[in-house]
């Protein structure tokens, strides 16, 4: 049918990395969904193909750029990321899969972007990057690549539980003049068309995502902001505790799916 829900294609990147793009819903969302699915399943064959080969994936130029900044000395301490973390392929393997996560020393839930900026400010003595800016998105992409194919596995209990509950509450809150929640679109209606858009489950295992529409890498919080704005609501700020909580919760809805970032979307 023209408007069939998720398709049954399989995602293998570079004929090598087999991605889990559908799996039984993790405990955190088992009351709401049977199966969780990557947004990849809801895109056209052409868009899907771009993500199956790194030579085709337009996000990969940004990964290369981030590789350069990984080696670039910046800030008062005369250090680069590589000064402390050496080879990104070793030191950052598995990192994306468990973020956002609790940082014991700081006593806070940290997103990958928060951690990167913490290293820039406090380890390098360099300026923070804009939370949803190009440098940040590219670095997130480089770090994600090191975990591609590994299952998303964010914690939902222990010290992060309060933030997780807050994120869950936000997910089900109907905001704005249109009075729509994330769940209205991404839980109750995934697989359906809303005007010209094919609704997915709104998973973030593929982030950062290269969008053909704006021809750049898009961060999780930028995407959230757009979706909240589309309910005719006052958005939350990227990097705010609100969006950190929402990211933690949404990430947990994808526990078990493979890390796919950087993905390609329309």
């Amino acid at each position: 049918a023209a408007f069939a829900g998720a398709d049954d294609d399989t995602l293998v990147v570079n004929e090598e990395i087999e991605m889990v793009t559908k799996t039984a819903a993790p405990a955190a969302v088992a009351d709401a969904l049977d199966e969780v699915m990557s947004g990849w399943h809801f895109r056209s064959d052409e868009t899907q193909a771009l993500q199956m080969d790194d030579f085709e994936n337009p996000a990969m130029v940004f990964v290369d750029q981030a590789m350069d900044s990984w080696e670039t000395v910046e800030g008062s301490e005369g250090k680069s990321c590589a000064s402390c973390h050496d080879d990104v392929a070793d030191s950052m393997k598995g990192v994306r899969a468990v973020y956002p996560k609790w940082n014991e020393e700081a006593g806070e839930v940290r997103t990958l972007a928060m951690q990167i900026n913490d290293c820039r400010e406090n380890q390098m003595g360099a300026d923070k990057w804009k939370y949803t800016g190009g440098d940040m998105a590219s670095m997130e992409a480089l770090i994600s690549v090191q975990s591609r194919g590994m299952p998303v596995n964010v914690a939902t209990d222990g010290p992060v539980q309060a933030m997780w509950e807050k994120g869950k509450e936000m997910y089900y809150t109907r905001t704005g003049q249109l009075e729509l929640s994330c769940a209205n679109c991404h839980e109750d209606n995934y697989g359906n068309m809303i005007r010209a858009d094919h609704l997915s489950q709104g998973q973030i295992n593929g982030f950062p995502a290269y969008r053909l529409k704006n021809a750049k890498l898009n961060t999780v919080h930028a995407r959230f902001k757009g979706c909240v704005r589309d309910t005719r609501a006052e958005t939350y700020k990227p990097g705010s505790q609100d969006f950190v909580a929402l990211e933690l919760y949404v990430a947990s809805r994808g526990n078990g799916l493979s890390v796919e970032g950087p993905s390609v979307r329309n």
């Binding site: 003049q177 359906n192 809303i194 909240v228 704005r229 006052e234």
Partner: protein, 149 residues
């Protein structure tokens, strides 16, 4: 002082004064002026107006590209519902279907994080309704023409 969008014309029922029946219908016209079905069709298909096709398929609007599939097909709505019921559905469908996903087009306050249209910035309640009283009447007139399933 009045904001342009919230200003109501003389003889119009303002959003806060609308009386719904127990079943969510609105018996009286919001303007006393007969709805213009042709204009209602345009509003229903226009993204910045009703954008009804975002969620509904409507054969009468087949020339408008991309109809969504969130709500039921609207063909035959004019047969299933009376004019009063249709008016209630468009003004605030939550009075007919509790908790429905369908937005209220003639509601101006009581929102969580109300925004200034699609800017993402905060909006001050009362917000302008998404459709004016006469636009609601026009959409109702259009729906009333949808007789065949």
């Amino acid at each position: 002082m009045c904001l342009a969008g919230t200003m109501s014309q003389a003889g119009e029922v303002a959003p806060k004064d609308v009386k719904f029946t127990e079943d969510g219908a609105i018996a009286e016209s919001l303007t006393g002026v007969a709805g213009d079905a042709a204009n209602g069709a345009i509003i229903a298909g226009t993204k910045s107006k009703g954008n009804c096709v975002a969620c509904h398929q409507v054969t009468a609007l087949a020339d408008v590209p991309f109809h969504g599939e969130i709500g039921p097909m609207l063909d035959g709505a004019g047969e299933r519902w009376s004019e009063a019921e249709l008016r209630g559905l468009v003004a605030n469908a939550k009075m007919t279907f509790e908790g429905t996903m369908m937005p209220a087009f003639y509601k101006v306050d009581g929102f969580i994080r109300p925004g200034d249209a699609y800017t993402g910035k905060a909006g001050a309640e009362p917000l302008p309704p998404i459709l004016t009283a006469q636009e609601i009447e026009d959409v109702v007139a259009f729906l009333a023409t949808l007789k065949e399933e």
